[in-house]
Symmetry: C2
Subunit: 346 residues, 2 copies
């Protein structure tokens, strides 16, 4: 369970030459967004995150520029949601290929604009360049009241494990889009929205939080490692979105496989000390939001799924490393993941 994660090795090797900023409050891997002190008296921290999309365009996973723009914005604000930030806006750096016409650029801008509108936030600025391929980079900015942040660190045995909503739509979208586009009449179910308002409730009650943009199992594995605990998902039925459950049933995959793909969605996964649960649920009800309890934190390590009275420990390191070893092609990654799922079973 504690095998090293290849992706983290690459990041750590890359970043070891950088001097840690004295005014950054989180350590490496410690939060979905960087938390930067703005100096005494400011009362707030700057939350900032950057996220690029290029392979998603090149592979055809997002072949509509409007979806590309939507996802760029949502992916970045989802990282801000996971630290409970109030958004200031986003910068977008767009590199477009010679083949992109005015219509493509217009649809991209529409997707970006619609996503900002849905989140009540703004494009602050950007950069446009011609290149050989699509490459999009977003940087989202927000503020968090000092002393009221939530990071990936702080979960303890006994905490309850929650998600902001069922997961696996990202997986279902990726599988259907790349392998079985004829299986459903529409892929419009995949239109994820960053959980900014929910994140501001989570920051007041949770011990740790992270988004599910790389898949729920990835999230649970990261939180388990950082907090040196075991994360137990006690009822997969509640954690998996109906669309993903249906896809797994039709394809004869174990349903946890929908939580294992690196193409996730923008739910929040967070841990609540038991004494905070009642106040948290009351605040959630105020947003007409129904968070889902999917398990608990125990002593131990790794991620397990409780199926009846059995515990199925998942080799999450192996699952996560499939993405690194499959290279940059999503299709070959998904194929390897499916093979692994069939091998392990449900």
């Amino acid at each position: 369970m504690s095998d090293p994660i290849l992706e983290n090795r690459i990041i750590d090797e890359f970043t070891r030459r950088f001097v840690p900023p004295p005014h950054r409050l989180n350590g490496p891997h410690g939060a979905d967004a960087e938390l930067i002190a703005l100096g005494p008296g400011s009362g707030r921290l700057l939350a900032v995150t950057t996220d690029a999309l290029s392979e998603e365009a090149a592979s055809g996973l997002y072949d509509d520029p409007r979806l590309l723009g939507w996802m760029l914005v949502q992916a970045n604000f989802s990282d801000l949601a996971a630290v409970g930030a109030d958004p200031l806006g986003i910068l977008v750096a767009i590199t477009y290929p010679p083949s992109a016409g005015n219509e493509d650029l217009g649809r991209l801008a529409e997707g970006i604009s619609e996503a900002c509108g849905a989140l009540g936030t703004y494009v602050l600025g950007g950069d446009t360049n011609q290149g050989r391929e699509w490459s999009l980079c977003g940087t989202a900015l927000g503020l968090v009241p000092q002393g009221r942040t939530v990071t990936r660190l702080g979960a303890r045995p006994g905490d309850k494990l929650y998600v902001s909503g069922p997961c696996g739509q990202g997986s279902a979208y990726a599988f259907l889009k790349l392998f079985a586009p004829q299986a459903v009449s529409s892929l419009a179910f995949f239109h994820p929205v960053a959980r900014l308002a929910e994140g501001r409730v989570v920051r007041e009650h949770a011990s740790a939080a992270m988004d599910t943009s790389d898949g729920l199992l990835h999230t649970a594995d990261t939180l388990a490692r950082l907090n040196r605990c075991r994360f137990v998902l006690d009822d997969e039925g509640r954690s998996v979105h109906p669309v993903a459950l249906e896809m797994c049933r039709a394809q004869k995959f174990p349903s946890w496989l929908a939580l294992a793909s690196v193409h996730g969605e923008f739910e929040l996964c967070f841990t609540l000390p038991p004494e905070n649960v009642a106040a948290f649920l009351a605040a959630a009800a105020g947003l007409a939001w129904q968070p889902v309890c999917i398990g608990e934190v125990e002593t131990g390590e790794g991620v397990s799924i409780r199926s009846g009275t059995d515990l199925l420990p998942l080799d999450t390191a192996r699952i996560r490393n499939l993405a690194a070893t499959a290279g940059s092609d999503p299709a070959s990654y998904v194929r390897e993941l499916i093979n692994y799922g069939r091998e392990v079973g449900s």
Copy 2:
């Protein structure tokens, strides 16, 4: 002279769908970095800018990952220098191709780290992805004391025109690298450093400022358009860097051509009301910095070069639009620019 700029048309067409952020103090094209209000009582504005490099890697213009990393950082902080910001740090989103080995990634990280060290700033965070080609995106963040910013707007007839140092090294580097690598023993002269300390002096005295990252003529044209003035460069000898002058002499180009390429450097170009010049020069001397007066602002429009008693008006719109019409290949752009230079002469 007032022909539209194609690049701005593309940007304006792209951004017209975005709601202008009510807390952004600059308008579109109004400043090198976005200036964002942080709310009452904070006393400071957030300055933020994003800048991507991809074609520079694909074209071989920067074929050393170390230079790529250095340029990514300097380009972003140069935009912060132009608004007089105190840097908080930079986020870097790195997409690397399958062909990139550990050594390439290590050299890239070194270039990033060295550039941050030279500027006394930090990598705050980032994102790494595999893709088909190199694509780098930086986002630099800083703070400016409220009421003490400088933007591109505010120049008036009668103002003196300054640069932080002679320009054209960027042009010289691009030409020699792509067309005449054998002409000089080393291209190590091109190691530009963002003028952050100088920018903090400029903000206290200048009426307008912009960096020369797209070439000095581009900068002067942008400032002339935004401020509805004529910018006159009165002695090209002082505005052109010795390396660029030598390159122009050897290649029989008019020397202003070294100021016309879109591959610039990171000097600041700024305008000083005459009554501010003495105090400005005293402050500059305190940094052991020798800014260069290269002309003045007059009533009228466009950019002219004064050569003796003659005024040579430059068709800066045509020069700037060469970059848009040449597409994304720097080599064909440089070729078209050289043809234009020979046609106009000196």
